[in-house]
């Protein structure tokens, strides 16, 4: 690994992504009776800011070397965003899919994601988009951080620096382990300016659209992965995460991006990630949709004004008379 920058060890990066309905086009029949959305009825896209998160991870990997694991939770069709991730340079992709996950609110979602991350093992950074366009809640990032017991830096518009410590991670690393693993310095956009925070690793960052311009899929990788299919593994082999094991067992790419073996989409259900049934999906969700109202627009009460100079002058005159305009 001669062209690898002089990092003491490779970075372990996890990116959380979501396939979202294209919210610009929700129609009445996309809504199910229980108030949840029938995603199948909507065109599905890669949540935009999750692409920004993936791009940050890939940039860090380019700079420091390391491994990018992408996790999504969703129906089997959500494999599309994982494929997109592989085409851009992710090393490993994991699909959390299970009927039991259905109807999850942000709390149940973050629980499942955190369980999956714990199963993947030690990590330096979890990166996710600031928010998903279908809900705009921005809650899953901080909630996942809390479940992992690591700090969060939200709304990150720039990762200034990652300084790796020599110590390899352990699965039970938490914020309490200090900065032996290393540090990340990141700048977040707040209402009236910026703030730059320095956090011990491991940490979770949520990335905004300002951070970067996501790279397009690599033509080369598209060719390599063309025949990828979702393939359930009975037993997830995580031995490659063991610092002493050889790193070539699951869908590795070498540093130059050449595949060492063909990628597999790892599929996990709630049992695979050791999640309690009562804490995932609708059952694990404290919030309920009580009611959904379609937006019915009231009859127009607007006074229509002709688009000609006389009518517009009259309107302006009236607004001035009524002290609406000065």
């Amino acid at each position: 690994m001669s062209d690898q920058p002089d990092s003491p060890r490779p970075l372990r990066l996890i990116v959380l992504v979501k396939q979202v309905p294209d919210t610009a086009n929700v129609t009445g029949d996309a809504m199910k009776e229980d108030g949840t959305i029938d995603r199948a009825a909507l065109p599905a896209v890669f949540n935009p800011e999750d692409l920004n998160a993936l791009e940050e991870a890939l940039k860090l990997k380019d700079r420091h070397g390391g491994r990018v694991t992408v996790i999504t939770m969703g129906p089997p069709a959500a494999v599309a965003v994982l494929r997109e991730s592989l085409y851009r340079g992710a090393d490993e992709v994991i699909l959390l899919t299970d009927k039991a996950f259905a109807g999850a609110d942000t709390l149940a979602t973050s629980y499942a994601l955190a369980q999956a991350i714990k199963k993947v093992g030690a990590f330096d950074l979890v990166l996710c988009g600031r928010q998903a366009i279908d809900g705009d809640t921005a809650q899953v990032g901080p909630q996942t951080a809390e479940k992992l017991g690591v700090p969060e830096i939200t709304c990150v518009s720039r990762i200034d620096e990652v300084v790796l410590g020599a110590r390899e991670g352990r699965r039970d690393d938490t914020a309490a382990s200090g900065t032996a693993r290393g540090r990340v310095v990141a700048t977040r956009s707040v209402e009236d300016g910026f703030e730059t925070l320095d956090s011990a690793l491991p940490a979770l960052l949520t990335i905004t659209a300002e951070a970067n311009e996501p790279r397009p899929p690599s033509v080369k990788l598209v060719m390599v992965y063309k025949h990828i299919a979702a393939e359930a593994l009975p037993e997830y082999d995580d031995s490659y995460l063991d610092p002493d094991a050889e790193e070539a067992q699951v869908c590795m790419l070498d540093h130059a991006g050449r595949p060492v073996c063909r990628a597999k989409v790892v599929q996990w259900d709630h049992a695979a990630i050791g999640a309690e049934r009562e804490l995932v999906g609708l059952r694990g969700s404290p919030t309920r949709v009580k009611e959904i109202e379609s937006v019915v627009l009231a009859q127009s009460e607007a006074r229509m004004v002709a688009a000609d100079e006389t009518a517009i002058a009259e309107l302006v005159h009236e607004l001035i008379e009524e002290h609406i305009l000065a």
């Binding site: 404290p286 109202e293 937006v295 009460e301 688009a307």
Partner: protein
């Protein structure tokens, strides 16, 4: 669930309204309505004061008190407490500690979650600022309770499920899924019920200096590294060593330049403006009318204008005397930020655009032609054209 905030028992009694908080009673303060008060350098965020107004209404409806939670360091932070009472709080919990001087997620979450566990409010509200949206989810996850983001309305109401009525829940109302629907979210079985609300959505209450309230000092201290360091004789909230993983390198705050919120005239452009150059026309009209430029998210996403100018559910909420919507279709998220304006003038070439249903005046036409006419009309003080000239001379 030792660290959960507790589950709510469903109540079946139909006339239990005034006793709503009773099943939660765990001591003084149980069942109250709380607001997390965000402050920077001793100045409370406006949204926090606005939320105190709504919390007051909710608490009066429930027959409970309003609690304000104030974290910070030093005298300036504490000096805010009377203003919180004047805006509607009955109790102000003041946690002062040097480690709380600046907002940091972990320390703040530890203190807020600690106070919630101790006093068991039934509702906790946060401003949907970058701070509130960072803190509230962390607290919700710690307490394993529900949280609804960016509510546009909060009310009290009942929930009937399978014949069981749960009384006096917080209805958390927010537009969802591209604005085609308005969803009412409830948290039926977990406490507290929590929501974030954008600045400007709730009306700022009048400060009443004669109101009285209680100020409760909350002791906070650093825990020793490693082992849990709770002493029996001490009821301080302990910040564990693991909370100190993050430090502030630099905070750069600029004065807000946009000033949308207090503007008396807002001229906003949407996707229909068509280009960055087109936006110059919108800016010109704003300047002519002495107003401030606003935008729909579509215009922001297109890169024609900065995000600070965005009006709507995820932008700024404005209530100007006059709102001019140019080439904006009127999605529910956009309307959430402007439909309280005193007068709304919509310019759109589609006569069926939803914006016309909230507008007081509508002009169907190409904004590139209509805006110059408006500019001209204003410059001549509405005196061009025979009709107005005649009127003016009457």
């Amino acid at each position: 669930m030792p660290d959960g905030a507790g589950k709510r028992a469903s109540r079946h009694t139909p006339d239990a309204k005034t006793e709503a908080a009773a099943p939660l009673a765990h001591g003084p303060g149980a069942g109250d309505v709380w607001v997390f008060v965000e402050q920077h350098d001793g100045v409370a965020a406006e949204v926090s004061l606005e939320l105190l107004g709504r919390a007051r209404e909710l608490a009066d409806r429930l027959g409970v008190r309003v609690g304000a939670v104030l974290l910070g360091a030093g005298a300036a932070a504490k000096a805010l407490a009377p203003a919180l009472v004047a805006h509607g709080a009955d109790v102000v919990y003041v946690a002062l500690h040097e480690d709380l001087a600046d907002y940091l997620a972990m320390q703040y979450a530890t203190v807020v979650a600690g106070l919630i566990r101790r006093h068991r409010p039934q509702i906790v509200l946060y401003g949907a600022t970058t701070t509130g949206r960072d803190l509230a989810p962390r607290v919700a996850s710690t307490l394993r309770t529900g949280l609804t983001a960016d509510c546009t309305d909060l009310r009290i109401g009942d929930l009937e499920r399978k014949g069981v009525v749960t009384k006096d829940l917080l209805y958390q109302v927010r537009p969802a899924f591209g604005g085609n629907i308005i969803a009412t979210i409830v948290t039926p079985a977990h406490l507290p019920q929590m929501a974030t609300v954008r600045e400007g959505v709730m009306v700022m209450p009048e400060a009443d200096e004669r109101r009285s309230g209680t100020i409760v000092d909350v002791a906070v201290r650093r825990g020793a590294t490693g082992a849990s360091s709770r002493r029996a004789d001490d009821d301080a909230i302990v910040l564990p060593a693991s909370d100190f993983a993050v430090r502030v390198v630099r905070r750069l705050r600029e004065k807000k330049t946009v000033g949308l919120k207090g503007a008396s005239v807002v001229v906003a452009g949407g996707a229909g403006v068509g280009s960055r150059d087109g936006f110059a026309l919108v800016e010109q009209l704003a300047e002519t009318l002495g107003g401030v430029v606003g935008a729909s998210r579509a215009a922001v996403d297109a890169g024609w204008i900065d995000a600070e100018h965005q009006v709507g559910q995820t932008g700024v909420t404005v209530r100007p005397k006059l709102y001019v919507a140019c080439g904006i279709s009127g999605s529910v998220q956009h309307r959430a930020g402007m439909d309280q304006s005193a007068r709304i003038l919509a310019i759109n070439r589609d006569p069926d655009a939803p914006i016309f249903s909230v507008a007081h005046y509508g002009i169907v036409g190409d904004l590139h032609k209509v805006i110059p006419m408006l500019i001209k009309a204003y410059r001549t003080r509405g005196a061009v054209g025979a009709a107005s000239a005649a009127q003016g001379g009457a």
